[in-house]
């Protein structure tokens, strides 16, 4: 709620005017039965045609005024609701961008996407409906009742019974069907799952000749879905007939009571008609009100979820001031660093210490899940270490401003991500001022020259969303080129040569060696051949540093490393 109000604040006038005009319309609607009463009692009663015309004209006028005021109301409601949603969306997106990695890990990417799109849209609809209906519907329901009381207290007593009864039925049916709807959703999810699995496993399913069984499973799931749908359908189908019966029984009661009153001379025929008309107005508004409550419920749940994201403060703070680069001989230094992922009791990295000299090449190797990527993620401060200290060029990493860190370090991530836009635009992301020449050098170093030139427009070739129009190896080479364009003193390859075949991998490494002078390079890999020639190899095993040194050194002394080598190379090759 807090957030809704905060963003609705800019639309104060609109959010007041919308319900105001809605109420005006409702008042006008409540007057209509009174006019009809007058037509019957005076116009017809005294055979006064002029009076009938006059009152008829009033009815037209009421209709027209009603239209104008409700159109005005709809406009203001829409403006306020959409304005609120739009501003909330901008704020949330900006907020999300301030999150650190561990924040995002904690919330989850898909949850963030849902918050930004679906949830805010629901809130927007909710605000819109509340502005339009929240006052109007109850106003008409209770207004009708009050009007009935002003006509005749005795007959109006029927209203006091019928309104709660209708409420009970409408909401009873609504609440009875909600849990079944949830079950239906689950059942649909199951069907989605079966279909998706069937497609992703198409080869395995056919290899094992299980098509028939799969189809049977699917049939079973759809059959249970139909059962649920029929059940809830039968309940929902009750709503209209039951409310209709109640309402009309009430009309019978009003007529019967009213007849007695008319006989006694306390009421006119026209007044009885008015009572009947008021009764009919209630039902429509009650149904609208029940729909409104559903919408409000949904919107409230969504807004709670959105608020939870807003309430989460980014956990990582950067100093405004830039740090002074010390004249240290080490580019990167880890001192007794340990790291735990959110909520995890087991450390992903445990007590790791090493120092990387300026201009050296550091290889990091180890099994999947041994902590290589985690270690690398601490260098650009994607995460803060839980214990120990990480320093860059002699200063604690936490002393650097955000901009400074970005300029100091270039990363080629494991997953090759390119954005929608031209190759050139993508390469410029990290360094907007790079010249075309610099771009071309980076492309050729990254072994991407051949395929870039073969594309229409060369570096102006447009990359589609998720880089769909490039192969895995091509994307990877472009992400490497993108990092090279940044020209940062520290360059990190996070297992980012895996999509390249061995020959390209080898050519790339020798090209890097030629062009990068003075750059400190980290290479994470599972391939011994990729890290074999590094100045320093860090061997990771289960989060710990199992060994650090050169290839020959480690091959002699580190059992872990030797084992990895022998699993990939023959003894002779490894010892080369």
């Amino acid at each position: 709620m807090k957030q809704i109000l905060k963003h609705l604040k800019h639309y104060k006038i609109e959010s007041l005017l919308a319900p105001f005009f809605k109420m005006t319309e409702a008042c006008l609607e409540l007057i209509v039965p009174l006019i009809v009463t007058k037509i019957i009692d005076y116009g017809i009663g005294f055979s006064d045609k002029a009076y009938v015309y006059k009152m008829g004209a009033v009815l037209f006028a009421l209709g027209a005024t009603g239209l104008i005021s409700s159109v005005t109301a709809q406009y203001f409601a829409a403006k306020a609701a959409i304005g609120c949603g739009t501003s909330m969306r901008n704020a949330l997106f900006a907020h999300i961008n301030r999150f650190s990695f561990s924040d995002i890990d904690e919330i989850g990417t898909s949850a963030l996407i849902t918050r930004l799109t679906n949830d805010i849209n629901q809130v927007q609809t909710g605000v819109n409906m509340v502005l339009r209906l929240f006052l109007r519907s109850p106003f008409i329901v209770f207004g009708s009742m009050i009007m009935a009381f002003t006509i005749d207290v005795k007959s109006a007593m029927v209203f006091t019974v019928v309104i709660p009864l209708l409420f009970a039925v409408v909401f009873g049916i609504m609440f009875m069907s909600i849990p079944v709807f949830k079950k239906i959703q689950n059942s649909l999810d199951k069907i989605t799952l079966l279909t998706r699995e069937n497609l992703s496993g198409v080869r395995v399913i056919r290899a094992f000749n299980r098509q028939k069984k799969e189809a049977e499973d699917f049939e079973k799931s759809t059959a249970s879905l139909v059962k649920l749908q029929m059940f809830v359908g039968r309940i929902s189908a009750l709503l209209n007939p039951v409310t209709y019966v109640i309402l009309n029984l009430a009309i019978i009661a009003v007529l019967y009571k009213g007849a007695g009153e008319v006989y006694a001379g306390r009421l006119t025929q026209g007044a009885v008609v008015a009572l009947v008309n008021y009764m009919s107005q209630i039902l429509v508004e009650l149904v609208k009100l029940s729909n409104l409550i559903v919408t409000m419920n949904k919107a409230a749940a969504c807004s709670k979820r959105i608020e939870a994201v807003f309430d989460k403060a980014p956990t990582m703070e950067y100093p405004e001031k830039e740090a002074v680069l010390n004249d240290s001989e080490n580019a990167v230094e880890f001192k007794n660093v340990s790291f735990f992922y959110n909520g995890s009791k087991e450390s992903a990295i445990e007590n790791v210490s090493f120092s990387a000299k300026k201009g050296s090449t550091i290889g990091i190797i180890g099994a999947t899940g041994s902590g290589k990527s985690t270690l690398i993620n601490l260098i650009p401060r994607f995460y803060d270490c839980s214990e120990g200290e990480v320093s860059l060029f002699g200063s604690n990493i936490k002393m650097y401003s955000k901009n400074q860190l970005q300029n100091l370090i270039a990363v080629v991530p494991q997953k090759s991500v390119l954005f929608n836009g031209s190759i050139k635009e993508n390469l410029l992301i990290g360094n907007r001022n790079a010249s075309d020449e610099e771009i071309c050098t980076a492309i050729s170093t990254a072994q991407a020259e051949e395929f870039v030139n073969s594309k229409d427009g060369g570096i102006d070739y447009i990359i589609e969303q998720d880089g769909k129009n490039l192969s895995g190896g091509q994307k990877q080479r472009l992400t490497i080129a993108r990092a090279l364009v940044k020209n940062s003193p520290i360059l990190i390859f996070d297992d980012s040569m895996s999509a390249l075949d061995f020959a390209t991998d080898a050519r790339l490494r020798s090209a890097l060696k030629e062009t990068l002078h003075g750059t400190t390079v980290f290479i994470v890999s599972q391939r011994v051949s990729t890290v074999k020639n590094a100045d320093l190899i860090l061997v990771m095993d289960d989060g710990r540093l199992a060994g650090a040194g050169t290839h020959d050194d480690l091959f002699e002394n580190c059992g872990e490393y030797r084992e990895i080598c022998l699993s990939q190379l023959s003894e002779k090759e490894a010892a080369k």
Partner: protein
Amino acid sequence: MKNSSALKRVLLYIKRYRLPVALSLIFAAASVGFMLYAPKIMGKAVDAIIGKGNVDFDAMTKHLIFFGVMIGAYALTQWLMNVCNNFVTYRVVKDVRTTAFNKLQRLDVAYADSHAHGDIVSRIVNDTDQFSDGLLIGFTQFFTSILTILGTIGFMLTINVKVTIAVVCVTPLSLFVASFIAKKTYDMFKRQSQTRGEMTSLVNEMAGNQKTVKAFGYEETAVNRFKEINSSFGKYSLKATFFSSLVNPSTRFVNSMVYACVAIFGGIAVINGSAVGAGITVGQLVCMLTYATQYTKPFNEISGVITELQSALACASRVFELIDTEEQVSDSSLPDLENADGRVQIQNVDFSYDKNKELIKNLNLNVEKSKRVAIVGPTGCGKSTIINLLMRFYDVDSGCIKVSGNDIKDITRKSLRQNYGMVLQETWLKTGTVKENIAYGKPDATDEEIIAAAKLTHAHSFIKRLPNGYDTVIGEEKGNLSQGQKQLLCITRVMLSLPPMLILDEATSSIDTKTEQRIQKTFSKMMEGRTSFIVAHRLSTIKEADIILVMKDGKIIETGTHSQLLAKNGFYTELYNSQFSK
């Protein structure tokens, strides 16, 4: 597919439920009749209430009781109609959905390979759902709306012709307003959903790729891009919301016009009637007013139903498109492959996925039984394609593949595939228990057999340690198992049936080398006495093969054993050395 032909198809599916459909129509007609007749009786009751000391209680009570019966009858018939409609709709959707899914089982693997899975899933799940909604609303409302309109006019005519004519004259206004709004709104909604699509993909791109965004300081650009899209989204959705919210007020307006007309002309008719004795009573006026309030509603419903039906049919045609896709050639009349001995011959085979791009050209290979064949080469050279052809996931363009001397096109796919055990790079497991997954190819396997197979593949020890052992459920994300464990399960799955021929397609490339070594031992055991095809890019894993095929650009350019190939000092040597080069 045009909407009209989609409609015809839907009607074919509905035809199976002739009886409930007929019942639904009968109930609908009856309920409209009761609904329209009720106000007339109420009018008579009002006429019995004239004034002080002048109320005909007997007549009124009689009318009120009759009124009550009409109400009850309406409620009952309406409920029954709804139940019939639900019955038909949900069953038709189930039929369509099941047909589509069954179809999927008979389509070529190429279909799954070349179509976005999300799109197929959305056809089978969302489109059918949408289609069911549209169908249901169409059913319930289309017929009753038309009946209501005609019925109302008919009933009003029995009361007073002039007033009825006045009402009918206002009708075009309602239709005009409804269609104007619908047109305006449709356009805006389309643009709104377009921008929403753009926005979702931007958020997807940014939130999903935070690492890149953060590493390159892309946040600010991202926020600006977002703001831009968001503001045009706001613009469109304001218009869409506003225009669509005009429907109710406009309807109410037209309604009140009709109402006013009835009040004026009806009132005058009552006055004239009392003078000459040929007009209407007050009760009939009240009855007319009730009709007037009911009269405009069906018009809106019809226009709503038409748009709803249109989108439902559009969805239906997407599903039908899937159902109509050409199936793989039926093989039910072909004999099964019996007693395969493991001999495989590939003769003069040409094949390519894209007929404009040559891939495999004149491929020949003769594999004796129990031989180990390794296939190596750079990415995209056609290694996995050979597997696709061997398993007959794809058919060769020309030439033939023979197993035990039988052309695989002359035997059933089922019997061919039964003779292969396949382990792929992607470890596909089904949502279900570990046991179900291992017994996937042999559902009648006993627990003892399953455990024995798991012991052979060294999977037993980790399965034992899972929370519920062999009954542990592997969820959709399969996050509770590591890549290596999943692969072990896939291998155990093959181990259980252990057919005479094996295919290992990059089976260990996503696993770290230490785990790989363990799995490799299992493989060696499995391969004993079996013809096997091994695709790998880590050359260290295939040194022991009886024959190594070196592929490049769809052709086999070198063959031989590891040492023979190294001695040749050709492409293989180059590949091999690049792994270990300095």
